[in-house]
Symmetry: C2
Subunit: 103 residues, 2 copies
Amino acid sequence: MVQFVHPSIEDITLTGVLGALADPMRLRIVGNMIKKNDCMSCSEAAPCPNMAKSTLSHHFRILREAGIIRTGKVGVTNRNVLRYDDINKRFPGLLDEILKFAD
Amino acid sequence: MVQFVHPSIEDITLTGVLGALADPMRLRIVGNMIKKNDCMSCSEAAPCPNMAKSTLSHHFRILREAGIIRTGKVGVTNRNVLRYDDINKRFPGLLDEILKFAD
DNA sequence: TCAATAGTTCAATTATATTGAACTATTGAA
DNA sequence: TTCAATAGTTCAATATAATTGAACTATTGA
């Protein structure tokens, strides 16, 4: 059984958040998630269809370990949710300010 | 003679800026520069004294190529300036929002 | 029971970061 | 004018991180 690692709010770091969002693919994943305002599977949130699923899995892990998303497994699919409130508690306004400029 | 590369405002990218600031050392360099509100040499802005100068030089190049600082040479020292207005023209408010959370 | 689905993990390759050593350009003093 | 000191850059080597195909795991539905 896979156990997902999620940092607590106080363990979310600024450089961790910036580093996680510094990749175009991950920025698009997060952009997709905030637009949908709902949980998404990894393949739903995938930034491009031709990406290896191991790479996609890697990107979700980076986002997860930076504290940006929370992942749970329901059946065979992952349910990924943006930790919007947690990030805003830690760094108020930061996420919106960054995503404002993400195409 | 060393020629420094500086992107034009429209070539500054969001992921470039985020990636440049995603490193604790570079974040401290930029934090130091905004506090001083003046140009600084590389060693003045150095985030810690025990860092190899080749590493420091590398970090300044990342910041430069991301469009965050402008470097000129005066005599034997570099004069590094934060491209505050340029970044604000490209991504209004972003830099302040990020630096607000940098210790 | 068994194939399909949605991912994870592993191993290999590739790319990026870090550092010491050698190099360059400028200054200031003898 | 020479020459050592200064402030970096560049290079080469190593260490760390990203990408991907292949094999694996767990769950569902026929």
